[in-house]
């Protein structure tokens, strides 16, 4: 940290500040939390195994487009949306169904207006905290140049909404094992997952704009009045967007851990099937 005093007595340089509080705690916790999730989810995606413990499917692997049923802890082939693992898949990469789908929820979180704040502060230090010196840049361009893709957040949203339905379908299937209706701890874990994801996704700033925020007049006709009602509901979720972002992130990771441990035989799922 280099500090030079300027007119006004302000310190200059990276992380320079006159703040006396522990401003670095927030960015540090964010760095640790997001970093841990990225490391774990990447590791889990590379495994290509132990993602299915009937009737539970890890959300990191859903939907199952292709399946390599020979992998340990893999889903049976009839669960594949398309079929057996393709022969054209590069041998360098493990045959993991997660590789085919994680880009979509990943893109949604990466371009999310909340996470942008989180990682711009904690990973890229632009700035690391309010009134704290950022990493110096030659000519700051914000989201107008390299980061202009952030403007496509709404397209990631469309896929994220699709995934909520898919994950609810997985949760529904988790009530049936060998054709018998029942419930297990895993069923509840899988049911909570899309619920939290829904609270996060349907509180999205882009969604808020699309349902009604783009209107200037909420009372001009029936359609705009209906959209205003929807906008208010989305706004209520949006006010807790950070909360839902973190709880849903934690839970989707926990769901994978739970299914993985059951599939590996490390823990036993308590359920009504016996």
């Amino acid at each position: 940290m280099s500090e030079t005093l300027r007119i006004g007595g302000h310190a200059g340089g990276f992380a320079a500040t006159a703040r006396t509080d522990r401003w670095w705690v927030g960015p540090l916790l964010t760095f640790a939390g997001l970093g841990a999730f990225v490391v774990y989810s990447t590791w889990a995606a590379f495994q290509g195994a132990y993602y299915y413990a009937a009737p539970y499917l890890s959300p990191f692997y859903s939907p199952l487009l292709f399946i390599d049923p020979s992998a340990p802890g893999a889903a049976p082939l009839e669960h594949a949306w398309i079929g057996a693992w393709p022969s054209w898949w590069p041998a360098l990469l493990p045959a993991s169904p997660a590789f085919l789908i994680l880009i979509f929820p990943g893109a949604f979180r990466a371009t999310c207006y909340y996470y942008r704040k989180a990682y711009y502060r904690s990973f890229f230090a632009t700035p690391p905290g309010c009134a704290v010196g950022p990493i110096p840049q030659g000519r700051y361009k914000g989201e107008t140049s390299l980061l202009i893709f952030q403007n496509l957040h709404r397209y990631a949203l469309y896929f994220a909404i699709l995934f909520i339905f898919i994950l609810y379908l997985d949760a529904f299937k988790a009530f049936f094992k060998d054709g018998r209706l029942g419930v297990g701890v895993g069923t509840l874990v899988l049911l909570i997952n899309p619920t939290l994801l829904g609270l996060y996704t349907f509180g999205c700033h882009s969604f808020r704009h699309l349902v009604g925020g783009g209107l200037d007049c909420f009372s001009c006709d029936r359609a705009s009045a209906a959209r205003h009602g929807l906008w208010k509901k989305v706004t209520a979720l949006n006010e807790r967007h950070m909360l839902w972002a973190w709880t849903s992130l934690f839970w989707v990771g926990f769901t994978d851990v739970y299914v993985r441990l059951v599939a590996m035989g490390v823990i036993r799922d308590l359920n009504t099937w016996g």
């Binding site: 207006y113 309010c130 950022p134 107008t144 403007n151 957040h153």
Partner: protein, 250 residues
Amino acid sequence: MPERTFRIWRGDAQGGRLVDYQVEVDPGMVVLDVIHRIQAHQATDLAVRWNCKAGKCGSCSTEINGHPRLACMTRMNLFGSDEVVTVQPLKAFPVIKDLVTDVSWNFEQNRRIPPFKPKPRDADGRYRMKQQDVDRVQEFRKCIECFLCQDVCHVLRDHGRKDAFVGPRFMIRLASLEMHPLDVADRIPAIRKDFGSGLCNITRCCTEVCPEHIGITDNGIIPLKERVVDRFYDPIAWLARKIFGTGKRA
């Protein structure tokens, strides 16, 4: 009465230094009271801008222990009993003297914004709008122009991009006009190009320092960025405009 140490920037655009003052502090005092006591008894030439002492005029914006704050709304019991209180002028604007900065750049930005342009009156010669249509705009009208948001914005404060970004306060003013149910001016191209919405990277410091608790980022800047996306970056929205027309504005 306990004695406290205040460290205040004394100087002008040519230079200066942080000067320590030992001052007695009474219960219930705010930082501006203490500055006035120093001004009255120890440094009669100390320059500080203030007016209402009620958090409504936005004059006494300073940086207190590194936080952009209103001096009149910062109570002394916020600090530890032996904590040195450092008071500095706003970093984002040129110092005139001591704690007073030249914020005229902000007024120049305000003049650049296309003014309110109302749609034609109703047949009976009146304008009509309903409460739900102006709720959003009324939040933005709470702004007291203290410019704390401008000061904390790293685009202006640290990267010096006053040439490209108008700052949070004027993004809010733009939002208040753009979302107004009676306004028909189209500012979206200017919001992107001239006022620099893309420079904001949503780190929300402006919202954190706002003494009026305006949702600057969530309710003002992000909705404007989304309107810019509608116009310039969303191919489906572009196609819809081509097929169904341009919507409200020409």
